[in-house]
């Protein structure tokens, strides 16, 4: 990158099933105000606001961002790339700084799915109405299809999915942004109801609401703030059609070509040649265990031959890199915000502000975003030093 850009402040609400004591604008204001305070800047210093909101139907308010995120007197636009919305919004905000149009940008991603009483039937409406929606797809069965492919291709078992889910639930107990985190064992996951085989109830991320905000700044304006610097980024789109991704030479449906290439670009910008050694931590936008495993491969943390063994080390906490110190999206997954939370968690760790979940020696991190049926991928590398 030619222009150095930093995360100068972050703000989050707590994430819970329902924030029934706050309307949408109040929810957003809590995160936005916290981020502005953290960055020690007022709204009058913000040159652009980027809003991140995925499907409106989950909130039941069309263009919910217009009533909750945009602010009088400040340019505004919205980003939507499904589950990658939050990180895509951050990347969009960076372009205004990189082009010299803004010195400071406020990125706000908000999820209001607690309004919906039937989230899965709403998720069915994201599928192609001509060829696929009538086959009763949901976001859970969409993920389950890929989990079965991973089992066929690499030899994963239901134990691996349950083991990762249990591991993430244990880690999330230290995360004070997750309201009422759920703790469960591998056996409890395996004996919970089958949602869509191989996915069991306790593996699925809970309904989650909340807002996350980040203040981006250009180098000279960061001053002596303790910032997390952006060392590299990548983002790529894929075809919407899952059925078109089975037989192509660059990789099948379980090989996240978009993530692989996004990470490769970010690695090259950041000078990362050996991700396991050069990075200290990874926050993966993985709402399910199988999504996390696909990202290990896409990020080059392991290869196909080592995928099962690496996953077992990840479950044991001996993978050689800190994985999901927040507990990840399996603990809470406010869809529109979740990819921005992955970046925020990395920034907090780098700044030493992660509270009870703080780890020692986190200097360089990578955060991913995945949206649509893995149609969109993002990769963002942060570091404690000015690049």
């Amino acid at each position: 990158m030619t222009d150095r850009i930093a995360i100068a402040g972050v703000g989050q609400t707590v994430y819970r099933r329902r924030h029934s004591d706050k309307n949408s604008a109040e929810l957003v204001r809590e995160a936005a105000t916290a981020a502005l305070e953290d960055a020690n800047i007022g709204l009058d210093g913000i040159d652009l606001i980027v809003g991140g909101v995925a499907p409106d139907a989950l909130a039941g308010i069309h263009n919910i961002d217009l009533l909750s995120i945009s602010r009088p007197g400040i340019p505004y636009f919205r980003i939507n790339t499904g589950g990658a919305t939050g990180s895509s919004a951050l990347l969009a905000g960076m372009t205004w700084i990189a082009s010299g149009r803004a010195k400071a940008v406020l990125v706000v991603a908000a999820e209001r799915m607690g309004h919906a009483t039937t989230a899965q039937s709403i998720f069915n409406s994201i599928f192609d109405p001509i060829y696929e929606k009538d086959i009763s797809m949901s976001t859970i069965s969409m993920v389950a299809l890929r989990a079965t492919m991973l089992m066929q291709k690499y030899g994963f078992t239901s134990d691996h999915w349950a083991g990762l889910a249990a591991r993430n639930s244990a880690v999330a107990m230290l995360n004070d942004t997750v309201d009422n985190p759920r703790f469960f064992t591998k056996d409890q996951v395996r004996s919970s109801a089958v949602l869509a085989w191989p996915i069991h109830l306790l593996e699925a991320c809970p309904t989650s609401e909340g807002a996350c905000a980040v203040v981006l700044m250009s180098d000279p304006n960061v001053g002596d703030r303790k910032a997390a610097w952006i060392h590299g980024t990548g983002a790529l789109s894929d075809t919407y059609a899952m059925g078109d991704r089975f037989h192509r030479p660059e990789g099948s449906l379980v090989n996240l070509v978009t993530l692989e290439r996004s990470a490769a670009k970010a690695y090259s910008e950041a000078g990362v040649t050996d991700p396991l050694n050069d990075l200290d931590m990874v926050e993966i936008q993985a709402p399910f265990a199988s999504s996390e495993v696909m990202a290990y491969l896409g990020l080059g943390l392991c290869d196909g031959n080592d995928a099962v063994a690496f996953t077992e080390r990840a479950i044991d906490g001996t993978a050689g890199i800190a994985i999901q110190p927040s507990g990840g999206p399996q603990a809470c997954n406010p869809v529109s915000a979740t990819a921005l939370i992955r970046i925020t968690e990395a920034a907090l760790q780098i700044q030493g502000k992660a509270g009870r979940r703080q780890l020692d020696g986190i200097r360089r991190t990578i955060s991913t975003g995945q949206g649509g049926a893995t149609q969109f991928s993002t990769a963002v590398i942060l570091g404690n030093e000015r690049p």
């Binding site: 039941g60 089958v194 085989w197 059609a241």
Partner: protein
């Protein structure tokens, strides 16, 4: 607040739509309905046959030029067994999966039948073997993807 329960305002979205399928999907569904045939379209640059039929290939934006009938049989590539009732979706258990029909270069999604679901774990182990499947057509067809489903072929033909 003073202990008052936060107020909830009720709401309901109940919009109706008609989705315009386009000429290519219209022909694909007509073939299903009238001839019980599954048709694909060929990308003249890559040679790939896309099933279900598409006007263009999403990978390279090239317009397809030729209609090709593909086999009613193929391989189950990936599946899931839905085991829980979700509002607005069918009663469980049911199976859905992506199938590559012989002669096609892409996979098509549909419901999968012909497997005993009384024990989901046992059924899953069978489906993990990627069995051959055959498209079975309904008697009353209306030009929808649900005019057929896949049935697992058990006669020793795995992969």
């Amino acid at each position: 607040m003073d202990g008052t329960e936060p107020l909830t305002i009720p709401g309901n979205w109940n919009f109706s739509y008609r989705y315009f399928a386009g000429d290519t999907a219209t022909r694909f569904f007509s073939e299903l309905r009238d001839n019980s045939r599954i048709m694909g379209t060929r990308n003249p640059v890559s040679g790939n046959v896309m099933v279900p039929a598409r006007t263009f290939s999403d990978a390279d934006y090239v317009e397809t030029t030729e209609w090709v009938e593909v086999s009613n049989e193929g391989k189950l590539e990936a599946f899931s067994i839905v085991g829980t009732k979700f509002p607005g979706l069918p009663d469980p258990p049911f199976v859905l999966g992506y199938v590559t029909l012989d002669g096609a270069d892409t996979a098509i999604l549909n419901h999968v039948t012909g497997v005993d679901l009384s024990d989901i774990e046992v059924a899953a182990q069978e489906l993990l073997k990627q069995p051959r499947v055959k498209a079975v057509f309904k008697d009353q067809r209306e030009g929808r993807i649900t005019d057929f489903c896949f049935e697992v072929l058990h006669d020793g033909a795995e992969k």
